[in-house]
């Protein structure tokens, strides 16, 4: 993984001191609330319902065991002993005191971490594929490019006061696991006809209250132009994006207003001025970034193990876990393990300090000391030998970390909702709990199979409900919490936005309505069809009828 040199370290250290001084001036009354707000937001600090919330950047989701131990330490020392992993591969602490935030940042800086640009109207953490570097369908590892973008975007002097937030995702595989289509810029590493690798560029995707799928403005961009092209996009957006209305300020609105083709032309025109300038990447710069993302030394005899198959035969729960919680690795004998943070009794995406320390230890023992945060709010040990799986599973069980539900109904994506967030209209975590209580039969869940439920407590869509196979949006109706369901969304290569099922439903009915939707699926599915495929084949009507007919 990327290692800081003196320059990187200097920047985060100087950031700690800058923020310490800003906090001091705010507490002394020299900075007004309004003046301090963008400063603290650019450091990931929100003022929430109960206390400040601090969002810490995990660049493209990759953590070392040392870093995860620091996150455990922070949650223990400054918070209430847990952290919440977010859908953008970051971590959030819900209870730090404002006065202690500079100290938290100083602690983070000791392990090459920070909270820079995790919020605010600037370029946010660049996200990527949780299986980068290990998947079989990878064209090229996207992380060196994420790191190049991270450095370029950090304290970018021109783009620190954009009309609105700006999110970039890079996917390096044929299968998009980075949800690149719903980002302000989505980059796909692709081959051109000559077999060269470059980027296909999408702009203007995004969720929120006006969701859009990204539009392609360039089929192939040579790697050396990565930064100049992105800078051109950002400059057009910074100059011409709307600033009069916060809900119309994202780049997707600009792209939609001027049109995909015209927006592309404006970008190309700006790019022509700067493409051969100082931003053009030298091969040495690319190679330098790549040098940090080499494969670990895999053992050649990993593939000879037979104990793993034996264990699967003799232990049904282990078999269940292996069916759902593993991801096929490019190296025979190895596998990626997905640690579910969706146990029935916890808020989706939460991990305690003890669990974080424990996972850090397991990653040292079994996975070269690396951990990856996924968009689905789980954690991955990317390089585990098959022979170690059984023991690893037994250990995970002792800390409530072996729930066999990856990709299943209960592997829900969920924002913090009304329990924590000051923007929310309705709770998310209580709905997750209700769903977990209704669907507690593991055989039923495995029979239903792949099903992405995504839930947001308001139309800002932090829980990505638009792209859930079943999306749940919390709305406020005269002071009461109601839930609007959508069906058929997806954030993968076939990205689509979900269709509205019908009128919003009462809080107490959410799990029952999901049950009715699944009844339709079970009745009408063909062979191995996923819920999403059945929906796409038969449309919304049968689902609608079954849900609303009886009401």
């Amino acid at each position: 993984m990327y290692k800081y040199d003196n320059y990187d370290q200097t920047i985060v250290n100087e950031r700690v001191e800058q923020f310490r001084d800003q906090t001091r001036r705010y507490l002394a009354g020299d900075l007004s609330d309004d003046e301090f707000r963008p400063l603290r937001l650019m450091n990931g600090l929100y003022i929430q319902r109960h206390a400040p919330m601090l969002r810490v950047a995990i660049p493209y989701g990759l953590l070392s065991s040392k870093q995860l131990r620091m996150l455990a330490h922070i949650s223990r020392k400054y918070d209430k002993g847990y952290g919440h992993f977010s859908t953008r591969q970051n971590i959030q602490f819900n209870w730090p005191a404002l006065e202690t935030v500079p100290d938290i940042l100083a602690d983070l800086a000791t392990v090459e971490m920070h909270a820079i640009q995790t919020s605010g109207n600037c370029i946010r953490n660049t996200t990527s594929d949780q299986f980068a570097g290990i998947s079989k369908d990878e064209i090229e590892d996207p992380r060196p490019y994420c790191e190049i973008i991270r450095q370029w975007s950090t304290f970018h002097p021109e783009f620190s006061f954009l009309p609105r937030k700006f999110k970039i995702a890079v996917s390096g595989s044929k299968g998009d696991r980075a949800a690149a289509m719903v980002h302000d810029i989505g980059l796909y590493l692709v081959n051109n006809e000559k077999g060269e690798v470059g980027f296909k560029v999408f702009v203007g995707g995004g969720l929120g209250r006006t969701p859009y799928i990204g539009k392609c403005i360039r089929d192939f961009l040579e790697k050396k132009y990565l930064l100049s092209y992105i800078e051109a996009i950002l400059r057009v957006y910074n100059r011409f994006g709307r600033r009069d209305n916060i809900y119309k300020a994202r780049i997707k609105i600009l792209v939609n207003d001027v049109g995909q083709e015209e927006f592309g032309k404006q970008v190309e025109k700006e790019w022509l001025h700067i493409k051969e300038g100082v931003l053009k990447l030298d091969q040495k710069e690319i190679d330098y970034a790549k040098s940090f993302f080499t494969s670990p030394t895999y053992s050649k005899d990993a593939v000879d193990d037979t104990s793993y198959n034996e264990a699967k035969k003799s232990n049904k729960s282990f078999l269940n876990w292996t069916t759902r919680n593993l991801y096929s690795h490019k190296i025979p004998g190895y596998t990626a393990v997905i640690i579910s943070l969706k146990a029935p009794d916890i808020a989706p995406g939460d991990a305690t300090d003890e669990q974080m320390d424990f996972i850090a230890e397991l990653s040292d023992l079994y996975s070269f000391g690396e951990i990856i945060v996924t968009h689905d709010q789980n954690l991955v040990l990317p390089n585990v030998k098959q022979v170690d799986l059984f023991l690893l599973w037994e250990k995970l069980k002792t800390k409530n970390l072996a729930t066999s539900n990856i990709g299943l109904l209960t592997d829900m994506i969920c924002c913090p909702g009304l329990d924590f967030c000051s923007l929310a209209n309705a709770g998310s975590i209580p709905i997750a709990k209700q769903i977990n209580e209704k669907f507690d039969n593991l055989d039923y869940l495995h029979d239903i199979g792949d099903l992405k439920i995504k839930m947001s407590g308001c139309m800002n869509a932090c829980g990505h409900h638009h792209v859930g196979h079943i999306g749940i949006l919390g709305v406020d109706k005269k002071g009461e919490e109601f839930y609007q369901l959508t069906l058929g969304g997806s954030s993968e290569n076939d990205a689509t936005l979900g269709d509205r099922l019908g009128p919003a439903i009462a809080k107490t009915d959410v799990a029952d309505v999901i049950g009715k939707l699944l009844d339709v699926y079970v009745k009408l599915r063909e062979e191995d069809e996923r819920f999403l495929d059945t929906y796409r084949r038969i449309g919304i009507t049968p689902f609608k009828e079954n849900v609303y007919a009886s009401n």
């Binding site: 320059y7 003046e35 002097p157 910074n238 330098y288």
Partner: protein, 165 residues
């Protein structure tokens, strides 16, 4: 009136004319005029004054003033609120694309914590908001000693300093 110029505080005699109708008489003395007024009175101004200063906000495209840059010794960029970041792009375009070498002055909601970014975009003088401590604001230039990306300033970037193996 005090402004920061080249990282130190100086007294400055230019007065900023915020509101003026295009048909109004041309004000005397060293005045920073709205670009649209300057443009409307272009011929008269060029004949009557030898030093020209204008101000623009983010809504005036840099391209529309680019042909007249030779007249201006000061271009003031307005930040109606510090959250309006359009003038950062305009500053870079003026410096980098149109090679403007006169004074670029930040006016409006100009605050300590943005000076570092403004300077990097090529702004070299700063009219800090009146109620703020201009001495304190000077500290902003020292916020960071290194930078990742090139901009209008001539400081070397990190990647140009790294010794690639």
């Amino acid at each position: 009136m005090q402004v920061i110029k080249d990282k130190s505080i100086i007294n400055d005699e230019w007065s900023l004319i915020r509101n003026i109708e295009n048909s109004d008489p041309i004000p005397d003395g060293d005045v920073i005029l709205p670009f649209l007024f300057w443009e409307a009175n272009r011929e008269k101004l060029i004949n009557s004054k030898d030093k020209h200063a204008i101000w623009v906000d983010g809504s005036i495209e840099t391209e529309s003033i680019a042909n007249d840059l030779k007249y201006f010794i000061i271009i003031a960029l307005d930040f109606p609120t510090f959250k309006d970041g359009r003038s950062y792009s305009h500053a870079r375009l003026l410096r980098e694309r149109y090679k403007y070498e006169g004074e670029l002055r930040a006016i409006g909601d100009v605050l300590q914590d943005q000076l570092f970014f403004m300077k990097r975009c090529g702004i070299d003088s700063f009219k800090v908001r009146d109620d703020k401590n201009i001495e304190e604001a000077l500290k902003s230039f020292k916020d960071f000693s290194v930078r990742y990306q090139a901009a209008a300033d001539d400081d070397a970037t990190i990647s140009s300093q790294r010794k690639f193996k």
